[in-house]
């Protein structure tokens, strides 16, 4: 059974039209992550939530925002997508304590900007 679910798997949006990607988890993990991955590159951390605390990477564009209304759900909002935002977006979760677990990844949402 899928434990980290991302919807949709594929998203096509128009240049400048706001888009929201969603992620849900059934693991009750306290940390949720959003990564951007472009072709043949490493996943780049955009944000992470440690419980309710939001952590934004310094080089994450202002165009990107995130919401975590409860433990199970997390959203990535791209306010005005540009062609350069076309990528795979990966959501992940982990239980971070003194003895942290590994991260569990969703299948990703591939975003195309036209």
């Amino acid at each position: 059974d899928a434990m980290v679910i991302q919807n949709p798997r594929y998203q096509v949006t128009q240049f400048g039209k706001p888009v929201t990607l969603s992620c849900s988890q059934t693991l009750n993990h306290n940390v949720m992550y959003w990564y951007q991955q472009k072709s043949s590159q490493a996943p780049k951390l955009l944000f992470h939530y440690y419980d309710k605390d939001f952590n934004n990477e310094a080089d994450t564009p202002d165009n990107f925002q995130s919401r975590r209304p409860n433990t199970s759900f997390c959203f990535l909002d791209i306010r005005s997508p540009g062609l350069g935002d076309a990528a795979m977006y990966l959501c992940a979760t982990s239980r971070v304590t003194v003895l942290s677990t590994e991260a569990f990844f969703g299948q990703g949402t591939r975003l195309t900007v036209v």
Binding site: Y33, S40, L45, D59, S100, A103
Partner: protein, 109 residues
């Protein structure tokens, strides 16, 4: 910015050979993790090694961690064609999980 750097960037070997890849990082960590990603697919966790551990094994995988040198290595023994993938190290620092650039491994039959 990335926490980890990996080498080599690419590795091509034949089935049955061993594959070794290295990861270096910049700051103190809670743990270091290795992931595999097949082309166009999601990331699969392979192994996690904590900062107070020096070596860990899982099946054909062997991971070492040297916190004094801020480096780790992943060894895949007796490689198979199915091991063809990109391999990433990731460092966790109090919930922040960042990935290295990755090593692309091709195993030919």
């Amino acid at each position: 910015s990335q926490q980890g750097e990996e080498d080599p960037q690419a590795l091509s070997i034949q089935e049955g050979e061993n594959a070794t890849m290295n990861c270096s990082y910049k700051t103190s960590i809670n743990n270091l993790q290795w992931y595999r990603q097949n082309s166009g697919r999601g990331l699969v966790h392979l192994i996690l090694i904590r900062s107070n551990e020096r070596e860990k094994h899982s099946g054909r995988l062997r991971v070492t961690l040297d916190t004094s040198k801020k480096s780790s290595s992943l060894l895949i023994t007796a490689s198979r064609a199915a091991d063809t993938a990109s391999y990433f190290c990731a460092t966790e620092v109090w919930g922040k999980l960042q990935f290295g650039a990755g090593t692309q491994v091709v195993v030919t039959p």
